[in-house]
């Protein structure tokens, strides 16, 4: 499901770390409702690209615009607010707080915006319920399976209803069964209108969840292909 509204626009983005060029003149657009997979070998610049779009890092040159907001012009506080309200992130290693149970990990994102504990928990419970892990809401991350942890991470990412969901190797740390579940979940989300950007090595994940695949090599986009999904 796609529309013509542009959510992400990268214009000639370069990123250098000392003598190393991670991104070399990348231009890319992602429209509302799209599911874009970025693929490529290790060190090609996939994660750097995702970090630019998430406002976790700044380009050396070029511009990154998300929802018409030029991220290069935002200070740290505004970038934090941008991340809080506009995007949700899913990581390969989940990045849950070990000393909080699943429910509190999910509510955290809403509570940072000032939402009271009650309404935040209600929303978190709805998400956990939708993702099929409501019964594990009081479990600590250490006692959850990999798939369950990633579902909690997805719930946390969706807590503030982000316009863009970014996933960095979301199945990379999961066994095949858990990976399948996460793929299904992402696909479902996209099918109900969630814009997705997935960084992955996994061809299966890309072809199953994405409507477009962007391939990177040596910091440059080398190939783009649109996929037909069933």
């Amino acid at each position: 499901m796609t529309t013509d509204t542009c959510v992400v626009r990268l214009d000639d983005v370069r990123k250098e770390y000392g003598d190393t060029t991670a991104l070399d003149g990348v231009s890319l657009e992602i429209r509302t409702g799209e599911a874009v997979a970025v693929m490529g070998p290790s060190g090609c610049g996939k994660s750097t690209l995702l970090n630019m779009i998430a406002g976790l890092d700044r380009p050396t040159s070029g511009s990154v615009r998300v929802h018409d907001e030029d991220l290069g012009r935002l200070n740290e506080t505004k970038l934090a607010l941008f991340r809080r309200h506009r995007i949700g992130m899913i990581f390969q290693f989940f990045n849950l707080l070990d000393d909080l149970p699943a429910l509190e990990n999910v509510t955290l994102a809403a509570q940072l915006t000032g939402t009271k504990a009650g309404p935040a928990r209600k929303r978190a419970m709805e998400l956990l319920d939708e993702l099929g892990i409501a019964d594990r809401r009081n479990a600590y991350p250490a006692t959850l399976s990999g798939g369950e942890r990633q579902r909690v991470a997805v719930a946390r990412a969706l807590m503030n209803r982000p316009a863009l969901l970014l996933a960095d190797e979301p199945t990379g740390a999961l066994d095949s069964r858990a990976g399948e579940q996460v793929m299904d979940l992402l696909l479902d989300l996209n099918q109900i209108g969630q814009t997705l950007l997935i960084v992955t090595h996994d061809e299966r994940l890309a072809t199953r969840c994405a409507s477009r695949v962007v391939e990177l090599a040596d910091g440059q986009i080398t190939h783009e292909r649109t996929l037909e999904r069933a």
Partner: protein, 788 residues
Amino acid sequence: MSAVWRASRAAVKRRRVQTFVIGLVVLLSTTTIVVALALLQASSAPFDKAFAKQLGPHAIAVYDPAKVTDAQLTGARTGVTAAAGPFGQVTLDVSGISVLGPPGPKTVVGRADPGGPVDRLDLWKGRWPAAPDEVALNLADPGPDDEGPPLDSGEITFGGKRYTVVGWAHSLSQTADAWVTPAQMTALHPTSTQMLYRFGGDVSTKTAVNTDLAAVTAGLPQGALIAEQPYLVVKEEVAEDIGVYVPFLATFGVLGLIVAVVIVGNVISGAVVSGFRHIGILMTLGFTPRQVVAVYLVMVLVPTVVGCVVGTITGTLAAQPLLSEGFQGLGLDVGINVGVWIWVAGLVGVPALVALAAFVPAVRAHGLSPAQAISAGTSPRTGHGTRIQRRLAGVGLPRPVTLGLGMPFARPGRTLFTVVAVLLGVTTVTFATGLADSLTRISTLEDQASGQIGVRPSDGQMRIIREGQSPTAPPARTSRTEAQVEQLLRGLPGAARVTAIYSLPVPTVGHMQPLNVNFVRGDYSSMGYQGELTAGRWMTAADQTVVPSAIMRERGLKVGDKLTMALGGRQAALTVVGETMDGPSGPPGIFADWRVLTDLAPDRVVRPDEVYFQVQLEAGGDVAAYVTAVMAADPAVEAWDTARVSDFEITVIGFSSVLSLLLSVVAALGVFNTVVLNVRERRRDLGMLKSIGMTPRQVVTMVLTSMTVVGVAGGVLGIPIGIVAHRYILPAAADAARVAIPHAVLEVWQAPMLALMALAGVVIALLGALLPARGAARLTIAEVLHNE
């Protein structure tokens, strides 16, 4: 060993901040410890050295020549290793104010020379008396910067006869005020005979010395011994000045030491915990558990050695001026230095303590397998910390605040160490604040007691010049009697109370040395001396006396004792009814009503210049105007504003302020280190929180909140400890100075002040946490999460 050294060196380089904090903490603590130990040593050792150099007498014995012959005295030598004497001794009145102090009886001894087997005097100026009208006076060498009293104009009147002062000598044991030739003494008809003894037996206590003396006098006729004085009396007097600092300094030294050990323990345990992965890697490389322990011990000992070397040198330099100040003019001509054992304590003792503190947590590394170590960094935290975090999640506070409140419980051991560091910082601040307040109260009490204005008529030779002014006219002698001067003072506008004080040493039955008596008249009972009472009550009749605590201790007196004053063949018995902190300015003296003087010496004419007057004005009175009025009414009557802050008060307040600041900094460094460790450990969590929208300000709030908990805990616990320390140490310091203090000066704590003290803990914690908190806010998310 080289592998251990290389790994340690790499760890030191990698942990620059921690290394710097350890070094700084050890440096500051060692400085404090060296200063405290140097003063402890100085309070005793210089006297012993000078006493040994002079071959000082362990006991001074005074005999009645009517009951014992010189031959008998010379023959009595049981337990005696060296003796000097017999020397003829007489008590003579010195006229006028002299270098020996106020007029009154002085002990004059006939001696052929300043040397001998016992009490070798330091003849530091002039020569020894050789002719009948010559005298040498007892005075400590004021030092190379001071020429001392001039010899050429030196004349002094003893017993109505004028003597030429030909020399100045110092007897550390105070065996006499002045010496004349033996021939001159014979002419003066000595009333007693002095013997000076050094004993071979135990001389460590007054009782032991008295036992030694009893063995010597055992074969002598009954009543031959009139008076005796063990050397420990003088030793205590010498130690008194410096001894008052010692309890304060020792307290600060101990606090500094504990803070150092606690922080080092915290730093090392934190280093081990945060270095689990590093330890695992070392083990997989083939390091044995023992080598791992060695790596971590060396890692902490490198900055410790640097810190303790610099700290020992700094402490030595800081102690020197304090020691010089304390011993100036005491006649201790032996060099005062920081002893070798203190250097050893600083250079070996402190690293040993640090190593011990480091060893226990470092041994934890010993017990880890490589797999445990490598996975430990990612293993989940469980227990109380998680339960508390969960409960805090539902509290109606901003989420960064509740996250911060829960952080200390994630590492309870580390938090405990940090709380102890802050606690000790708050204890120090509380103690120092209480100390300053108490000293100010003591000063206020003394100011109230001494009146606002001091007045002394000139003797026609000297005049009192106010600071910064030069004399405008030669001194005149007032034509008024002392009673007329009092009348003048009472008649001037604004005068509310006037007290006249005449200070006179009076021989006292059963005491070797005359007792200094302040004969008081006028409004002395309402001047404020009652506020200085430490025991008993104020005197209400002429046969009662109130005695300063220094004299009570020196003479072994207690409330209820009787003192029999003897002057010119008359006697007056006074009952001790109270004890005061001290008395009027000048040498300590007992209070006695002027009527006692009249009874003892009805014919004595007291000159106006021998009387010191204290004046208190009506409420709101203008001190300067009154002083001017006195001088205008009689230019020969000197008046001055007595308000002042004592040097001791300035020294102690200044010193305690510096030390409390120093230990607060050390405590803040402990917090700093804890936050650095916490932030390093929680980099991944912080990165994640920032990735979901936590702003830099919220990160700072979270980290500062975590340390606010520590600050509040440290404050709440540190305040009572500081109060208890103040309650015990101030009286101990007063005891070292051989005075008692009124209970009121200890009652310094009020709610607003305590609230401020509680804030001290929070301020220490926040100051320590601020920098690393800002560092946490600036963490680069991509880098943190990528590294994970």
